[in-house]
Symmetry: C2
Subunit: 237 residues, 2 copies
């Protein structure tokens, strides 16, 4: 079985790559910013694809455009059996979330910033991409589950907040729905592992919480991703 | 020379495909929704790639995720010398735009819905992707030019309007900056041809104007695209 993680930022991926002792894949996406690492775990294979850096700003590419391209390249190259969108995210303290909590996506992943007020187009905009059924896994590993909602901005103005509340979003981040869309096109099962860096409904701006909690959230993320892989390789779908 | 149009909707592309007498390209993106047409114009080649339809809703895929994938597939398949993001768009009557006006993009294409309030990341979010210098072409063909600004929603809430005004956006649409980003990764020159279906600062909702003006705007779009190709093939870059 081949499990492929799609991760936006190098800081979110580095310790996972190290823990799995993955090797860099040469010629993964020549000329494009995306990078890949891969390695065997017994008879199974684990890969990690990250978006890479913007050539002008030397900053990690984030957001749904980069996630779209990374996922397509990952599926074309590795032909994985399972895609996992992993990373850090915001969550709601009003829904009981705490910094460092790790959520699995269920029952779907949605977009909250694709508003098209024409019947049919409105629903297509939100997406509601179904994800791999993680309920047993979440129970066994004692993880929370929730609807993961994706948009290209780090903040949450009123328009986005209203959409997120209407679609029941619990985890707010910037890539998952694009990963889910591309995975669905290629018919590869997919789900998310998201670690909470910030509480989007607290008094502190998201970007300040993000920077101060990133390290803690990545530690939780790595720990849970290792457990998730262990679980999947034992309970193969 | 090979010129490749990236167009979101079939309704925007159909008459252009017919006027250029293009043939459908088989095996362009097997398993994916994107479609391509291509044909020779003398010694030069013209191609059109459209996003195709969502399998669940049977509606044209729109927005930046589909545009990202279409552009990557187009460049991989055709290795074009020039990418043109063509389609319909909104514009501002306060800046002198009228329904059916056709704009060329200059001096750049930007995102208005990627807000990340961290230094460096803020600028990377907007993008400001440079475009092919169309100033001579615009003068010759008597076309307006302006900054094309992209977001994944058809409406314009206050947050988006403030961003669009701050970055000087004149043409508001849903794909161009993603096309520009992917073209820049592959180092393919790119610009936009956008025909105005709706005035986003008028009293009428964008989606009502869009539906009633689509046919007129597509006629103008097709006419200008033919002239633009004629111009480029004479004044080869």
């Amino acid at each position: 079985m081949h499990i492929c993680f799609i991760i936006a930022m190098e800081a979110e991926a580095a310790s996972l790559i190290e823990k799995f002792s993955l090797d860099e894949v040469t010629h993964f996406a020549s000329g494009l910013p995306m990078w890949a690492w891969s390695g065997l775990q017994g008879a199974d294979q684990i890969s990690v694809v990250v978006n890479g850096k913007d050539a002008d700003y030397n900053l990690d590419l984030i957001g749904t455009q980069a996630a779209t391209l990374s996922t397509h390249l990952a599926i074309n190259h590795f032909k994985p059996d399972m895609i996992i969108s992993a990373g850090t995210a915001g969550a709601f303290q009003s829904k009981g979330a705490n910094i460092g909590d790790v959520y699995l996506s269920y029952p779907h992943v949605v977009f909250h910033d694709r508003r098209v007020d024409i019947p049919g187009w409105d629903k297509m905009g939100v997406g509601r991409f179904p994800v791999y059924d993680v309920r047993e896994m979440a129970l066994t590993l004692k993880l929370k589950t929730g609807v993961v909602t994706t948009g290209n901005s780090l903040d949450m103005p009123e328009t986005d907040e209203a959409t997120i509340r209407a679609i029941g979003g619990e985890i707010k981040e910037m890539e998952a729905a694009a990963v889910a869309w591309v995975a669905s096109l290629h018919k590869v099962p997919m789900f998310c592992v998201k670690s909470v860096t910030d509480l989007v409904d607290s008094a502190h701006p998201t970007h300040e919480q993000f920077l101060s909690n990133l390290r803690l959230a990545v530690e939780s993320l790595t720990e849970v991703c290792l457990k998730v892989v262990g679980y999947i390789l034992v309970h193969k779908p």
